[in-house]
């Protein structure tokens, strides 16, 4: 839909900015950066490294108080030290250390939730689309329903009863993470099952499970990857929001949302306590959103709704 406008040739200044033709070398790089999602890849690699090697990257303990060195500003501000690059929080814990360990929490939750949610959604969508009928109708109404339920209210009610915990966050997010995949997988299955090769394998006597697994499912993988990646960002945001409200990951675990909440009362004087963890969330979500858009454009342009 965006390429169409290039050929419109109308008077409303519809133009695409081309890289200037002054330097072929720079042009090549600009084109390459446009083609590959360079910035998201850098951010996500940094996150993965931080998550995996958190213990090796810093020598501080993310959860241990050190009251002597509390509220130290970042290194470039007056009073900062190079020992604590991003400063420390009111309990004297190193901000950078906590942010690095926070990456581990965020990615771990996203990985667990999305593996379960995606697998389940794929299964539901595949079966519902392939079998059709009442089964399909009921499952799709359930999907509609999970889209309509205000997640935050469910989360608040559940947390008041069971108390906040890591496991509860995972369960809640998983319950609300399979619906998108299920819907897309079903839509895709509906079109795939009318293909000749599917009919051929049915005629050859393959069981429905074999047809679904061997012939329909491979055609769904692209869609599922795209939908899942696009979902990653909002999942991380939701987890952070729960943690911020005090109904997600319980402190002192260095979840980014918890850290922003802890710095809230200090913004007059110690602005960095809230600022950096929030910045980490934003960059992470931005990176995953870009990557999702890129996957969508490459693998499954039909899913494209927004430019």
């Amino acid at each position: 839909m965006n390429t169409a406008s290039n050929t419109a040739g109308d008077t409303t200044a519809v133009q695409v900015v081309q890289p200037s033709d002054s330097s072929p070398f720079i042009n090549r790089w600009i084109r390459r950066i446009r083609y590959w999602p360079v910035v998201p890849i850098i951010i996500i690699s940094a996150l993965l490294i931080a998550a995996i090697f958190a213990d090796q990257l810093t020598s501080f303990d993310p959860e241990k108080d050190d009251l002597i060195s509390r509220n130290i500003p970042p290194v470039w501000q007056e009073g900062g030290t190079s020992k604590h690059l991003l400063g420390t929080d009111p309990l004297g814990r190193d901000m950078l250390t906590r942010i690095i360990h926070g990456a581990r929490i965020s990615l771990l939750i996203a990985a667990i939730v999305l593996s379960i949610g995606t697998a389940f959604g794929l299964l539901v969508g595949l079966i519902a689309g392939y079998l059709g009928g009442t089964f399909d109708e009921v499952l799709m109404r359930v999907v509609d329903f999970t889209f309509a339920v205000p997640f935050i209210l469910v989360a608040l009610v559940t947390v008041i009863v069971y108390g906040q915990s890591f496991a509860l966050v995972i369960i809640l997010l998983t319950i609300f993470s399979w619906n998108g995949v299920a819907r897309q997988a079903r839509a895709e299955t509906l079109s795939l099952k009318t293909r000749d090769y599917v009919a051929a394998s049915q005629v050859a006597g393959a069981s429905i499970w074999r047809v679904m697994y061997r012939h329909v499912m491979p055609g769904l993988i692209n869609t599922v990857i795209v939908v899942t990646t696009l979902r990653l960002g909002s999942l991380i945001l939701t987890e952070a929001s729960l943690s911020f409200l005090g109904v997600g990951i319980p402190p002192p675990t260095p979840a980014w949302g918890v850290m922003v909440a802890e710095g809230r009362n200090y913004i007059y004087t110690e602005w960095w306590i809230s600022f950096f963890p929030g910045l980490a969330i934003m960059l992470t979500v931005l990176a995953f959103n870009f990557l999702g858009d890129w996957f969508r454009d490459r693998f499954d342009p039909r899913l494209r709704q927004l430019d």
């Binding site: 209210l153 069971y162 945001l237 929001s241 913004i267 929030g278 910045l279 430019d307």
Partner: protein, 305 residues
């Protein structure tokens, strides 16, 4: 259109009922309500008598019906913290939330839609890039962080706007922007891509070829068609609005339903939480029906389905 609307109406009713069942089951999970009245002198007889009084001797589904009947008459029990009817506590919080929702809606429409149109018209210009950056930030920045950063800049450093709480008109600016930014971003992206698509369609080319003035082509022919996706989106927006309001109210100490919900969780005030959840769900379901209705009115394709 009748089928479409009837279907949506049934959805909303199911949603509200499911919420009440969920809340009821959870309230039973949270423990025997008799523990609230119990003291060291309580006897077994008193305990049983309370059970009969509260209907706890009846089967669970009957208990639910009793509970639902009470809820429908506005009886959600007494707030554990404030010692007065939970619904009263909730009702006095409604205006603040309504004002905040209105403010953020105005902000998102007033920025998102014009910026989206401009971005589409001046595609590839600085303006387009600024607009898209605005949208990217809105979709990736956590609402709670956005609020804090805005306070940091405009209240703490520049001292232009108040930090928190409800008050004069200037108190509405930061909370409305915080809550509205995400929706402004979505409006911007939707309007922009819809405008680009519409501007490229045959009837626009025809209008231009016929010599219709540019302004008229853009606003009369293109813009009206480009608004539809945003309208569809308004329905999806509502659920996000609840989450956003809960967070925004918490940051700005805004005396609305959202901050009440969070406080009641932190204070373990179950009756208040129940009442808030039911009131919000009811309002949400009602709004969804209204949005669907508007949508059906605006889009003939739905009307004829």
């Amino acid at each position: 259109m009748k089928v479409f609307l009837a279907r949506r109406l049934v959805y909303s009713v199911v949603l509200v009922l499911a919420t009440t069942i969920f809340v009821f089951v959870m309230s039973r999970q949270s423990g025997d309500p008799r523990h609230l009245f119990m003291s060291e002198q309580s006897t077994q007889e008193e305990w049983d008598a309370w059970g009969v009084e509260l209907g706890l001797d009846k089967p669970l589904y009957l208990q639910y019906v009793i509970w639902l009947g009470n809820a429908l008459t506005g009886d959600f029990g007494e707030s554990i913290r404030q010692r007065r009817p939970a619904l009263d506590v909730v009702i006095e919080r409604i205006p603040a939330t309504a004002e905040l929702a209105l403010g953020s809606f105005l902000f998102s429409v007033a920025t998102g839609i014009p910026l989206g149109v401009l971005s589409a018209l001046k595609r590839g210009s600085i303006l387009d890039y600024l607009g898209r950056t605005f949208a990217l930030i809105g979709q990736a920045a956590p609402v709670f962080w956005l609020g804090i950063v805005l306070v940091l800049i405009f209240s703490v450093n520049l001292g232009w706007l108040p930090v928190a709480r409800r008050g004069g008109l200037e108190h509405y600016i930061l909370p409305s922007i915080t809550l509205g930014w995400l929706f402004a971003s979505s409006f911007l992206r939707l309007t922009r891509s819809a405008m680009l698509e519409v501007l490229d369609s045959e009837f626009i080319k025809f209008a231009r070829a016929k010599g219709v003035h540019d302004t008229r082509v853009i606003w009369k022919h293109a813009f009206r068609n480009a608004l539809l996706p945003s309208l569809t989106y308004a329905g999806i927006l509502l659920a996000g609005l609840i989450t956003g309001a809960v967070i925004t109210e918490t940051i700005f100490s805004w005396p609305g339903l959202g901050s009440l919900a969070v406080t009641s969780v932190l204070q373990l005030d179950f009756p208040v939480l129940t009442a808030v959840v039911c009131v919000i769900t009811l309002a949400y379901a009602g709004m969804s029906v209204i949005v669907d209705f508007t949508y059906a009115l605006a889009d003939p394709r739905i009307r004829l389905e």
